[in-house]
């Protein structure tokens, strides 16, 4: 599958994750979210931006419980919990948010 965004072809694998991470843009995330009937709010972007920073630093997408813990540290306990993250990303915070963030699927995620 592929998206056409600002004249750039962004290809994805069979599960919808971007193949070439450098082709990601905010518009790609918005298009992916729209397909899932999800409108990206500032709260969604907080998580997506965190994931991109985490990947930049460590070169992996974090496991969901690592994500939860780190979000708690950075944004406070009211956001660093499964309930909050699953409300934002009902398909799974690691899976869905990582996909919007242009990251590969988290290691160990099935």
């Amino acid at each position: 599958m592929a998206y056409e965004v600002n004249g750039i072809t962004v290809e994805t694998d069979e599960e919808g994750y971007i193949e070439d991470l450098s082709k990601w843009s905010k518009e790609v995330a918005e298009i992916m979210a729209k397909e899932d009937d999800c409108e990206l709010t500032e709260e969604h972007w907080e998580i997506i931006n965190f994931l991109r920073e985490y990947y930049e630093e460590f070169q992996i997408a974090p496991a969901v419980r690592v994500l939860t813990k780190q979000i708690g540290k950075r944004l406070g306990p009211e956001k660093g919990n499964s309930k909050y993250l699953y409300e934002l990303f009902p398909y799974g915070p690691a899976k869905q948010a990582c996909r919007y963030a242009g990251l590969p699927k988290p290691t160990g995620c099935v």
Partner: protein
């Protein structure tokens, strides 16, 4: 915190050691080992990593894997702390033979001599060698 979505892996905790002996690029062993380690973190076991022989190069600072068209996964070892994996042992003799010290490594480690490494291995329930 809600446990509604947390998996419950109750049961016996075993001691797992992942032994890394090969240089980081050129074979897939180092990366595969790292992936297994990251996955194992989900199961609440007692996990440690050991670096011996050319395996000490896996932790070396300043790797440039681009020329090999490989991903430089050295920064990922710094993520292990966030996965509650904090026991990284490096064999002193292997470092010295390669002219390296702990200062050349991307993460804080415990440098141990060969005899101590043997004891650590003997203490494990499971040792996996890569």
């Amino acid at each position: 915190m809600s446990d509604e979505f947390e998996d419950d892996f109750s049961g016996e905790i075993k001691r797992f050691m992942f032994v890394n002996r090969k240089a980081p690029h050129g074979t897939i062993y180092a990366l595969e080992s790292l992936e297994v380690v990251l996955i194992s973190a989900a199961f609440d076991q007692d996990v440690s990593l050991a670096f011996l022989d050319d395996g000490v190069f896996q932790l070396r600072k300043g790797q440039n894997a681009n020329v090999l068209e490989m991903k430089n996964f050295a920064p990922t070892y710094r993520a292990l702390e966030g996965y509650d994996i904090e026991k990284l042992y490096v064999e002193r003799e292997s470092l010295e033979a390669r002219g390296m010290t702990a200062d050349d490594l991307v993460v804080p480690v415990e440098v141990v001599d060969r005899a101590r490494m043997a004891e650590l291995m003997a203490d494990q329930d499971v040792v996996m060698s890569f």
